[in-house]
C-alpha cells in the first residue's frame, strides 16, 4: 500500500515536471529587445509641448467639434472604456449605427497608417476625418473655425500652442494629434515579466505567450511592443466590407483591415473591425476555426490548432497586456 502511495507520488512529481513551462531558459535579452517600448516620434512640424497637448485635450473632449455640438472625440474614444466605446460598431450623428467599430486610440502615435483601412497617413491627417464625416461628427469645417474663434479662451490657447498660425483646420488637427500622442499604454504585467519579474504573470500566461508566438501564429501579425505589424490582413470575417481595398485596389487587400494593437485588449471588447465578437474567447475560437469566410484570406493567416486548455492559456496571456489606466482628468472647456 505504501509502495503504491510512493508510486503515485513519483508519477505526480514527473507529471508536474513535464507540465512545467519550458520558458525557464527564455532569452531575456532577446525578449527585452523584441518588446521594448518605442518612443513616440513627433513630426518636425508638430513638436509636442504642454500648450499643444493642453489645447488638443480640450478639443478632444469638446462636443462643440461636432455639427450637433453633442458628440466629442471622447464620446467614442472614451478613456474610461479603453479609449473606445464598448459597442460592436460606433454610433454617430443622429444616433445612427456605423459600419465599423471604434478602434482604441491607445498607442495610435506608434502606428503608421490611421483608421481600420489606413486611409490617413498620420494623426494630423486623420484628425479632421471623423469631425467632417457626415455619419460621424458631421461638422462643417468652416463652422468649427467660426465657433472656436468666438471663444476667447480658445483664441488664447491657440495663440499659446501655435503662435501666429490662427485657428483653422490645420491647427485644430495638429493639436488633436499632439494630444493623441500622449495616450500611451503603461507598464503591464507582461512588461514586468519581460524585465525579469517571474511572479508578474502566471504560469498559464507564460504558456499562453509561447502559444502566442508559436502554435497560435498570433505574433505573425501581432508583433513587437504594440502587438501589431501595422499591416493589413483579411482574417476571414463574415462580412462584405472590402476594407483596405477601397484605398488600394490590390486583390490581397480585399477584406483586409489594419492589425489592431493588443495592448489593453482585455478592456476593449467587443472585437474586430465589425464588432463581430463579444469576448476574447470568441476571437480565439475564430482563429481555431481558421476563419469563417475563407474566400480571400491573408496569405499570412494560419489556423491556430489549439486545445481548449491552450485556448485558456492564451487568454491568460492576453490579459497580462492590460496596464494601469492613464490618469486622465477631464479638462475644463473654455466657454468665453
Amino acid at each position: 500500500m505504501e509502495t503504491r502511495g510512493q508510486f503515485k507520488f513519483i508519477v505526480f512529481i514527473i507529471s508536474c515536471v513535464l507540465a512545467a513551462p519550458t520558458f525557464a531558459n527564455v532569452d531575456r535579452n532577446k525578449l527585452r529587445e523584441k518588446y521594448a517600448k518605442p518612443g513616440i516620434n513627433d513630426p518636425l512640424l508638430n513638436k509636442s509641448n504642454k500648450y499643444r497637448v493642453k489645447l488638443g485635450k480640450a478639443l478632444f473632449f469638446d462636443p462643440r467639434l461636432s455639427g450637433s455640438n453633442w458628440i466629442s472625440c471622447a464620446t467614442c474614444h472614451n478613456p474610461t472604456m479603453g479609449w473606445s466605446d464598448g459597442l460592436p460598431t460606433a454610433i454617430g450623428e443622429g444616433q445612427k449605427k456605423l459600419a465599423r467599430a471604434t478602434p482604441t486610440i491607445l498607442n495610435s502615435g506608434m502606428g503608421f497608417l490611421q483608421m481600420w483601412d489606413g486611409r490617413f497617413n498620420s494623426l494630423e491627417h486623420q484628425a479632421m476625418g471623423p469631425i467632417q464625416s457626415p455619419g460621424e461628427m458631421n461638422q462643417d469645417p468652416k463652422e468649427i473655425v467660426a465657433e472656436l474663434s468666438a471663444i476667447k479662451g480658445y483664441v488664447d490657447m491657440f495663440k499659446d500652442a501655435y503662435p501666429g498660425r490662427g485657428i483653422n483646420r490645420d491647427t485644430i488637427s495638429l493639436a488633436l494629434a499632439a494630444f493623441q500622442r500622449t495616450v500611451v499604454s503603461g507598464e503591464a504585467p507582461f512588461d514586468r515579466w519581460v524585465k525579469g519579474d517571474e511572479e508578474a504573470i502566471s504560469d498559464a500566461a507564460k504558456r499562453g505567450f509561447e502559444l502566442f508566438e508559436g502554435k497560435g501564429h498570433c505574433a505573425t501579425c501581432h508583433a513587437g511592443y504594440n502587438f501589431t505589424d501595422d499591416g493589413f490582413h483579411n482574417i476571414g470575417l463574415n462580412d462584405d466590407d472590402i476594407g483596405r481595398y477601397a484605398v488600394k485596389k490590390l486583390p490581397v487587400l480585399k477584406g483586409a483591415f489594419k492589425t489592431p494593437t493588443l495592448r489593453n485588449v482585455a478592456v476593449t471588447a467587443p472585437y474586430m473591425h465589425n464588432g463581430a465578437y463579444a469576448t476574447l474567447e470568441d476571437v480565439i475560437d475564430h482563429y481555431i476555426k481558421g476563419g469563417v469566410n475563407k474566400e480571400n484570406l491573408s496569405p499570412n493567416f494560419k489556423q491556430a490548432k489549439l486545445t481548449k486548455y491552450q485556448k485558456q492559456d492564451l487568454l491568460e496571456f492576453l490579459k497580462t497586456l492590460t496596464s494601469e489606466p492613464l490618469d486622465i482628468t477631464y479638462p475644463e472647456l473654455p466657454y468665453k
Binding site: 501595422d230 487587400l253 491573408s298 496569405p299
Partner: protein
C-alpha cells in the same frame, strides 16, 4: 566560313552589350524592410531597362507593388525563399511598397 565567324562575333558582342546595359538588382525583404547587401535601404538608383528582383527572406508573405506613373505593377503575394522580378522601362521615380506591410517602402530612381 568567314561569314559565319563574323556572324558569331556580332551575336556575341550584342549579347555582351545587352548584359552590360540591362542589370538585375536584387533586393531582399528581411525583417519587414527592404535590404541590399545586408543593409536596410530606402532607395536605389538604376538605369532604364534594368530589372529589380525582390527576394523574400522573411517568414511572412509580402506583396510588392507600385502605383507610380512610370511603372504600375503588382507582383502578388509571395512567401519565404520566393522571388519576383520587374523591369523598369521608363525613367523617373517609382515608389515601391508592400501592400500587406505598408511601412515597407522603397524609392526606385530610374535614370
Amino acid at each position: 566560313m568567314r561569314k559565319i565567324f563574323q556572324f558569331i562575333i556580332v551575336v556575341m558582342v550584342l549579347a555582351f552589350s545587352t548584359s552590360v546595359i540591362a542589370k538585375t538588382h536584387t533586393i531582399f525583404q528581411k525583417d519587414k524592410t527592404f535590404m541590399k547587401k545586408g543593409s536596410k535601404i530606402e532607395s536605389i538608383s538604376i538605369n532604364t531597362g534594368d530589372s529589380v528582383k525582390f527576394t523574400n527572406e522573411d517568414s511572412v508573405f509580402h506583396n510588392i507593388f507600385s502605383q507610380s506613373a512610370i511603372n504600375k505593377f503588382n507582383l502578388g503575394a509571395f512567401g519565404n525563399g520566393k522571388s519576383e522580378s520587374v523591369t523598369f522601362k521608363k525613367p523617373g521615380k517609382a515608389r515601391v511598397e508592400c501592400a500587406i506591410h505598408p511601412r515597407m517602402q522603397l524609392e526606385v530612381i530610374v535614370n
